[in-house]
Symmetry: C2
Subunit: 277 residues, 2 copies
């Protein structure tokens, strides 16, 4: 049964800050007719160095705020929050569908390189939980997974030093242990396990060479969202122009400035609503 009122609701997208805007961008490309409501928890960014208990509390508050505004599906556009809190959010928000960024990336890596070796680049918290290893090995028991925390790459992406010798040096330092003796990575895929890292894709490519596949969970997550909308018959039916609404818990002017790089389009501080969760 299609309920037109539900179908008109936006897709809620939540991240610790601006990183999830790479997922928002992929959603707009994949689902150009959908309303989107984005919440960046910029007052408490970054999540990657915080404890599971704090991350879970923050994620629940953010999800609750979006649910009260009215959404038809929630995307956790943050690998750390997905690794820590996806199960709890799915339980608490049911029957609202909740899609995380982690499983779609794991699924894509396994499909493209079965029985392969995978290198996951992520935050400290995501690596500590070993969430990617579990997700990949649940799909492909013979896959070999290594996880590398790359904390400084989050600040680097936010600073906007992209395509830059300093960025290459930082990326090289993190990837060095995983490069083979004749250069090139030992892994078949390199998974961008943090939504900030697609901005550093070109540096990562330069460091790892041409052989390894780079898996960007933004586009794989957008495809997973599309499948879920279809399964639940939740696609938007109206042909009027879709709305994009941006919320932040702190600093709209910084959000706008940094957000422009992630969304690759103009964002003004006036477009961003400050919310207290």
């Amino acid at each position: 049964m299609i309920d037109p009122a539900s179908n008109e609701l936006p897709i809620g997208v939540f991240d610790s800050g601006v990183g999830g805007l790479t997922v928002l961008k992929a959603l707009r490309q994949q689902l150009p007719h959908e309303h989107l409501l984005y919440l960046g928890d910029t007052a408490r960014v970054p999540y990657g160095t915080k404890s599971p208990a704090s991350i879970t509390r923050y994620a629940l508050q953010a999800a609750d705020h979006l649910r009260k505004r009215g959404i038809k599906l929630l995307v956790i556009a943050c690998n750390t929050a997905t690794a820590v809190a996806l199960d709890e959010l799915q339980k608490k928000l049911a029957p609202l569908p909740v899609v995380g960024v982690l499983e779609p990336g794991a699924r894509a890596a396994v499909a493209l390189r079965p029985a392969g070796s995978h290198l996951v680049l992520a935050t400290e918290a995501t690596v500590r939980l070993g969430a990617y290893s579990r997700a990949i090995n649940a799909l492909d028991a013979s896959a070999v997974v290594a996880e590398q925390p790359c904390e400084l790459m989050v600040a680097l992406a936010e600073e906007g030093w992209l395509n830059d010798p300093v960025a290459d040096a930082i990326v090289h330092r993190y990837l060095e242990p995983w490069l083979g003796e004749t250069a090139g990575p030992k892994a078949c895929t390199v998974i961008l396990g943090c939504t900030h890292f697609p901005l550093l894709r070109e540096s990562i490519r330069r460091v790892i060479g041409d052989d390894a596949l780079i898996i960007d969970s933004a586009s794989t997550t957008a495809q997973a969202v599309e499948r879920t909308l279809d399964e639940r018959k939740l696609r938007r039916l109206s042909a009027t122009a879709p709305r994009l609404q941006l919320l932040a818990t702190d600093g709209p002017s910084r959000f706008a400035r940094v957000g422009r790089m992630f969304l690759e389009e103009d964002v003004s501080a006036d477009d961003i609503e400050l919310v207290d969760i």
Copy 2:
């Protein structure tokens, strides 16, 4: 009138995270007989990219927590919190003396290089407020002050890549606009306007050369605390060994690991009390 009960109370030290441990270390050297109570607001670190309203709220909550535990003086061991909230904290906590890290550094720079030019390295929030320029020019109207935001250096110090070519490259990128044509900085002093930056002192020295004075507000703040204790007759009189107590709002294990670098001594997660403010 000396009240022995007050004199026995610890000095409270508050920072957004681990950076203030450089100030704690200087306090222990300057005042080896004092009890010290340190609170790192690691659940909400970093402050440097957040709005003044949020920073003020966080600082008031932290100060209130320390006051309730009992302290005889409060040190705001965070340049950002000092720049944003010192006046408000002094007003709200009076008659408890509150010492910030900013004014002692400004005072030292002006005393050492009168009518000089000064380059302040700080977080985005500190630079946006121009607090160093105001403090320096209030003491020396003919001083010339430039402020450079160096956000990535905070994450760099926390990652522990010290004395490292990547650190040198990052420091060079920020300082490049301020280096003279025949190398060496145009400024007479370089002020470390963030408590994380003393860890990067050797990289900064390599980049700026030998000419400019590096002003580290940790030691100047410790001297200011000593003066205040003497003025108020608040020095500890007992000869028993002093206590050091560490509190954090999140992640004791990360606090311990990163804190070791800042304090330059062993810190165990078991020594850190987790508090909810």
